[in-house]
Each structure stands twice: as C-alpha cells, then as structure tokens.
Symmetry: C2
Subunit: 100 residues, 2 copies
C-alpha cells in the first residue's frame, strides 16, 4: 500500500542558498531510504512549495521522518527557513495516470 | 477523515494563457464544492506542478472528479495541456504543522 508524505511550506526568504543545498541533500537522502518509491517537488516564485514523497508503507515513511540528518534539517527549517508548513501522511486508495 | 487528491503534472507548454484561465476557474470551482477543505498549488518554471486538494470524505473527492465542468477541463488537459499527469486519492492518517 503506497503511503504519501505531503509537505506544503512557505519559505521565509532567508538564506535561500543554504536552503537550496539542504533541499537537494534531503532529496538525495530520501531516495536512498528503504521503502522509497518517488519524490516530487514544485515551488512558486513567492516561496510556497509542495513536496510529495511516496513510500511502500507507513513504517517506511515514519523511518524517513526520524532519519537523523533529516531531523536536523527539520529543526533548521523551523528555526530559519519556513514561515509555516504542514505535513500530512496519507494512504493511497485510488490512483490513475495519463501519458501523452 | 480528511481525503487528499494529489495531482502531479507536466505541462506541454502549449496554450499557457488558456491553461492559466482554466486552472484559475477550476480552483474557484473546487472551493464551492461540498466537502471542500482547501486547495494548494505550486509549479516549477519548467512546467512541472503539484496541486493538492483536501476533502471531508472520499465521496466528496469523487464528486469533484465527476463535476461536469471539471470533466471538461480534464479532457482538455489530456488533449492539450499535459505531457503526463498522475492523480492519487489518499486518506490522511497523521498530520502536523508549524507556524512561526
């Protein structure tokens, strides 16, 4: 059963260079975690962004939340980079896709 | 129980003006549907975007999928605007948020 972690966040606008490095590092790290399926991110010019990662189970998603380096990034995010954010963990019940 | 509809899509790059109008119309329409909770969108410069809408139940999310004008937009999306897209419907099991 696929589990999504949906992260919506508004950046403060401070230290964008440091943020970009950290975001890239977290993307790379997530891809190496057990149970990883995929990760996608999009961000508007105003600093509002959405990242969706997909995992094989809730347990895999929870392990990613608790990963040590990721915990450090979450702390920095609260201290420095985000005005606000929301994380939702959700079990996929239906999905469909289209490709041209 | 909150249900998310996670829409990830890559635009073709054609008819961006028509696309922008339609996207705004769908945003307005979703907000008027029964069971609507919220909708957020973010898009990268390369045309990759994520839209997450939240609903009070699966039935409400399903009604939004079948709404007549929205069905028309979905058809136009496949014919004209999207290289590929994925829709995932998912039940929220945990959530947390942060505000500065």
């Amino acid at each position: 059963m696929t589990v999504l972690v949906v992260f919506t966040a508004k950046q403060t606008g401070d230290d964008l260079e440091g943020y970009g490095r950290m975001a890239q590092r977290m993307d790379e790290l997530a891809r190496k975690m057990p149970g990883f399926l995929r990760i996608d991110s999009a961000r508007n010019k105003d600093g509002f962004g959405i990242t969706v990662s997909a995992w094989e189970s809730e347990a895999h998603a929870a392990s990613w939340k608790r990963e040590a380096e990721h915990l450090g990034a979450q702390k920095l995010g609260r201290e420095r980079w985000y005005e606000h954010y929301r994380v939702e963990v959700a079990e996929v019940t239906r999905s469909y896709s289209f490709k041209r």
